[in-house]
Symmetry: C2
Subunit: 384 residues, 2 copies
């Protein structure tokens, strides 16, 4: 039988067949009318998903590249900025701000902790005049989704611009760009937006654009103003990744057809199903056992088993790809993604396979309960 594969990582994520089919269409020119129509629709849909009236700028790059555009456009050497981090991606943003010469205050929590408004408030008070605060909405390395609304409010109070990494959260958990006063929201095509990787996005508030107009970091392709001006004429300043943009437009159409609130509810239920299933078979969660853990579930490997063994077992025996821990957590936790084109049977597939691999590895696992419990939890009502 042809191998049947399962991509269950927190990004890249599996994409619907309609999206794959769109990729295979003959190349059209990005200055043609047809492309402009697709582009216009895609930008409008992005604004709808972002819940913003302002521009969402599109770049041919990874999520990290789009985040770099925020740093490059908002940083002059010596600018006082603050990163609050509790995992791999937060630390990446700190490294990036330093690479651009920011006078960086790095508030570093333990990996897996949830940054709280009080943490940020005291860090800002101590740091003094901070101009930009970088937040990670969903820390993909740990499964933590923080309360970015409250954190942003604290940063705004202190007079800072707020930049949010929403690469793995946008479209999966609630995020209100304008209503929450977030100046810059960074996201990418390959997570909850159900598209392959290749393009990434940045929403920009008027205050962010104003700050960009005086920042001195050199940039060209990633320059916000150049891209904003081009997009205003439905032009792309540089040749875009045409098939990915088309695919993204189709994927956003599917997401908006489901409805954002429905998608948020689905992700919450997927997270709950995954956690309940894992706990039922006796495993300990690493990510918080809370409704907000709707993006990726991080689970501790049981005593005596290396998480790498689990990840490789799933891959080698069942062609199922999940994720290992990152950094110091490698081998200690494994991560099941449920972002984007996922339903409960993806969760039960992952749990059933984990159960098999752990049992064969000699772990004490209660058989047969994980799938049942996951399905029960999935069926519970999720208030929106």
């Amino acid at each position: 039988m042809a191998e049947k594969r399962y991509l269950l990582t927190p990004g890249p994520t599996p994409v619907p067949p309609e999206v794959l089919a769109e990729l295979a269409k003959p190349v059209i020119h990005h200055r043609e009318r047809d492309y402009r129509e697709i582009y216009e629709q895609c930008l409008a849909r992005l604004r709808e998903v972002y819940r913003t009236e302002h521009d969402v700028l599109m770049f041919t790059t990874s999520g990290t590249g789009a985040f770099e555009s925020a740093v490059a456009n908002l940083t002059s050497p010596g600018d006082r900025q603050l990163v609050i981090s509790a995992g791999n991606f937060g630390e990446r943003w700190a490294g990036m701000a330093r690479a651009f010469g920011a006078d960086l205050v790095h508030t570093r929590l333990e990996w897996g902790e949830t940054p709280e408004p009080e943490d940020l408030r005291s860090a800002l008070a101590e740091a003094g005049d901070v101009r930009v605060v970088y937040l990670t909405h969903s820390e993909t390395s740990t499964g933590v989704v923080c309360d970015v609304q409250s954190l942003a409010a604290v940063a705004k109070e202190a007079g800072a611009l707020v930049v949010v990494d929403a690469v793995s959260s946008l479209g999966a958990v609630p995020l209100e760009t304008d209503a929450w006063g977030i100046d810059v929201v960074v996201s990418g095509s390959q997570k909850a937006l159900m598209c392959p990787p290749g393009i990434a996005f940045v929403s920009v508030s008027p205050a962010a654009l104003e700050a960009a107009s005086i920042s001195t970091s050199p940039r060209y392709v990633m320059d916000w103003e150049r891209t904003r001006k081009a997009q205003a004429k439905l032009d792309a300043p540089f040749t875009p990744a045409i098939p990915i943009v088309r695919a993204q437009n189709v994927a956003l159409g599917l997401l908006l057809e489901e409805g954002l609130e429905a998608a948020f509810g689905r992700h919450a239920r997927l997270g709950r199903a995954c956690r309940e299933g894992a706990k039922a078979m006796g495993l300990e969660l690493f990510s918080p056992d809370e409704e907000s853990s709707a993006v990726v579930t991080a689970i501790r490997a049981p005593d005596g088993v290396d998480a790498t063994e689990i990840v490789e077992g799933l891959r080698n025996r069942f062609a199922i790809t999940i994720a290992n821990g990152q950094g110091d957590l490698k081998g200690k936790i494994f991560r099941i993604g449920h972002i984007g084109w996922f339903n409960v049977f993806d969760i039960t597939t992952a749990l059933a396979a984990v159960e098999l691999v752990l049992t064969d590895a000699g772990a004490e696992i209660e058989r047969g309960v994980a799938v049942t419990r996951a399905l029960e939890a999935w069926a519970e009502h999720t208030p929106v």
Copy 2:
């Protein structure tokens, strides 16, 4: 009948169906074994096409983005650098080097001129201690392909690093990265490499990497050393545009199956067929009437006809996309691309349609001779 479309611009270019089909395959993870195998093969094929033993770094970006990586990695503010330009892209590189704070000498020829070694030699002598020279191999805005081998030799003599924009030339006309001593060759997926846009490449000589290690321009995603280190382990530092990389691998396989020399010969014959056909119907060439004009043919609109009318006529009446002039040449010239997945019937299609549109516009065009002459010219032997 379903509309039959023809993409005959100098990029993005049409891609073979095998390449489109590859795009539509389900997403795999970029740290999986299967992806690594594809990635390894793609990087090896790139080195073969580049004719280099050194690393070819892959970035998720446009050709302009990859060029920016060269500027960012080779420039510290105040560095003396030189751009010799004779068209839109050369001017872009000058603007970019300035944006990164280079002390730039910009030797600016008229658009459509061919930069000659003597132009560069005298510019370098006058400028003094130039550390980096930027050259445009194929100036897509004018159709000029310069003698980059001789120009690079002049730059090397003067002790400068040589960076070549080969975005539209690599795979279409001869380019010997190592044998010609070129430190950095920039190219992109969407021209002669027969793939949709989305990824771009930079070959880096040991001298270029050494220079990058001391340059102070801030960069993160585009940092050469970070990407080089990751590639050495067959890792990608950031999530790559997975479908585009897969498609690029297939397209490079097709190119190498044809053989580089055969592909160069084909492009030379395509250029010759296009020029001969255009001249036969009484049109005046803008790009040089030389064998080197193998990438894009720029043709002057006849008296009394605006080139925009020709471009729009082809698009609106026949769904054929060709390119207008850029900058001051807009409306004055039109450009037929023949880069990548092209054969002579693409040229005869373009010429036949131009003949129809011009005739209807009242231009004095000799009917029926262009296609015949193009086919004759195509049949002539091309010495390699």
